[in-house]
């Protein structure tokens, strides 16, 4: 999909925040994922043109980081942590339950749901934990994980809200989350207003360099 004038403007604003344009490659790759759902050759070419490097250089960056997806990962990407603390608290059983309930083996995706194992996601005090479109659920169980998959399949939520997920499917947390927030994720990329990848508050770009 070609980028709208508004998205191009946002991209230029992001580039302007950095002393050197190339630093904007990673934020722009998130923006490209927002455009197409994953990183397409066209999307990476667009990023290359915006920061003045070659598409091959952009691809070399994109393929280094696990959160940049060069293939479709469905509308909801479930990243189940299997690192040490989650492993100790039964993460492998939870991952298998997610694979079984969704019919999607780890590392693969259908049109709706992608499943992957993740290395430590920083939720060790609330292990086992997973991310759905990078929003966190702590204190998962096998049963709750199956419910999560059914909820995604049947409910097809437009957006993912971390607090809602935690309330519905989570239990013990790493610390008191305390404050609810209404930002919501809409795809397999983190919701961050400044990059234009949040479902809400996308106008919250703060003043640019020298503004």
């Amino acid at each position: 999909m070609s980028w709208s004038a508004e998205t191009i403007k946002r991209a230029h604003d992001i580039v302007a925040r950095y002393p050197e344009p190339r630093s904007a490659v990673m934020p722009l790759l998130y923006l490209a994922m927002r455009q197409d759902g994953y990183l397409t050759a066209d999307g990476m070419k667009q990023v290359a043109d915006l920061v003045g490097i070659t598409p091959a250089q952009v691809q070399s960056v994109a393929t280094f980081y696990v959160m940049f997806k060069t293939e479709p990962k469905g509308k909801y990407l479930i990243s189940m942590c299997t690192s040490i603390s989650c492993y100790l608290m039964g993460a492998d059983d939870v991952l298998h339950a997610i694979e079984e309930a969704s019919g999607v083996p780890a590392g693969e995706a259908d049109d709706e749901i992608g499943v992957e194992h993740a290395e430590c996601i920083g939720a060790c005090g609330g292990a086992p934990a997973c991310l759905v479109n990078y929003e966190l659920i702590e204190g998962l169980t096998v049963e709750k994980a199956k419910e999560l998959v059914r909820w995604l399949r049947d409910g097809k939520p437009e957006t993912i809200n971390g607090d809602e997920l935690q309330t519905l499917f989570g239990s013990v947390t790493s610390f008191d989350w305390a404050i609810k927030e209404d930002n919501a994720a809409i795809g397999p990329y983190p919701a961050f207003p400044v990059f234009g990848t949040a479902a809400q508050n996308t106008d919250a770009l703060e003043p640019g360099r020298g503004a």
């Binding site: 925040r17 950095y18 002393p19 050197e20 190339r22 630093s23 904007a24 490659v25 990673m26 934020p27 920061v51 490097i53 070399s60 960056v61 280094f64 980081y65 696990v66 959160m67 940049f68 299997t82 690192s83 040490i84 603390s85 492993y87 100790l88 608290m89 590392g107 194992h117 993740a118 290395e119 430590c120 996601i121 920083g122 939720a123 060790c124 005090g125 292990a127 991310l131 990078y134 966190l136 971390g162 013990v172 790493s174 610390f175 008191d176 989350w177 305390a178 404050i179 927030e181 930002n183 983190p190 919701a191 961050f192 207003p193 400044v194 949040a198 703060e206 003043p207 360099r209 020298g210």
Partner: protein, 442 residues
Amino acid sequence: MVYPLVVTKRMMEHPADSHTMKRYEATGGYVAARQSVGQTREELVELVKASGLLGRGGAAFSAGLKWSFLAPARPAYLVVNGDESEPGTFKDRQLMERDPHQIVEGMIIAAKANEVHDSFVYIRGEYPKPARRLQQAVADAYAKGYLGKGIFGTDYDLELTVHLGAGAYICGEETALLNSLEGRRGEPRIKPPYFPAAKGLYMKPTIVNNIETISNLPHIINQGSEWFAGLSDSADTGTFMMSISGHVNKPGNYELPHGLTWREVIYDVAGGIRNGNELKAWVPGGASAPWFVPELHLDRPVTKEACAADGSMLGSGAIIVMDHTTDMVGAAERLVAFFAEESCGQCTPCREGTTWLDMILQRVLNGAGRDADIDLLLDVADNISVGLGWPPKQTTICPLGPSAVSPVMSLVRHFRDEVEAHIASAPHSGGQGVAVSIRGIA
């Protein structure tokens, strides 16, 4: 037991709104930053040196001394490392989510101390919520004139940009982080010549500080270096945050004084072992730290000095506790698998060695172990870190490869019988076991 709190005090006393500008300013916020912009580099560096504050990212180097090493060329940059990705560590996540203004204020102080006008926070991509909170705090600070042109009505300018990573543990290594922030693959640079203080971001002098280190700065400015040093009896001053996870009753982040014993931390602070189970072993300072066992270490003090004397480290302050039901070969495999997956691939001993260590551990776990596998593990490990000593020697650009050796050495040192039992239970333990990959690492 109630311990004095510094960086978590506000969020404990005001859980509902500790992240807001209103609460932050109502509890003494931005007084320190306002004062600092009127102070000289020398004054601020000396103050932080005198406080004894050590970097909280794992290396525990004097923060003030690090600042004093910054090369004089300008522009220079301040980069704050919020890439926290060490298995077991989740303290910076809480600091970013629950008290983001403390970080913004700390960054203003660090920037002024180093005569920097451009600063960045690099937050791991898996932390969008902490990033959003910090971004909101940054926007609020710009709106108040605490960031941007002429901050606090002075002629001092400071830009602050929140930058999101994209899932790479190695970007917690400071030179890899700088490459990543430049829009490159997150591969560590060779030191020398690429010491950030001389050749950092865009090859310019750069200070890289950890989130917890930065969070302490406003308190040191407000209450003085003597107060901060006085919080501790050891050379390691102030308080420190521990992330406790695994088989304990009360996992979580705890801000603690230095010098408790491991028994106090595991049984009093973290509520003891789940289901009344027996403690088997714990990782004292992040996935790279050699394990401790109750017979040898339970009554040893939780200090950097004591950990070093016992052949391990406090590192990032992540304790991972394992009870008697734990399969130690499984635990070691999971730790090694992490490093195998997160190796950036530049150096052969790390790229190949960590993968082989993991495949050998997997086949032992899967009932295909061979009699020679313990020796083979040690041989591969020795090729990554020659001599298998502590602190580990490096054959690689950064310490990631040698980090994978720690769990293997801990396993063989303390639980060799468990490895042997796994191998003995294999149907053809003397024969040709097959390396089986369970998570696609091969």
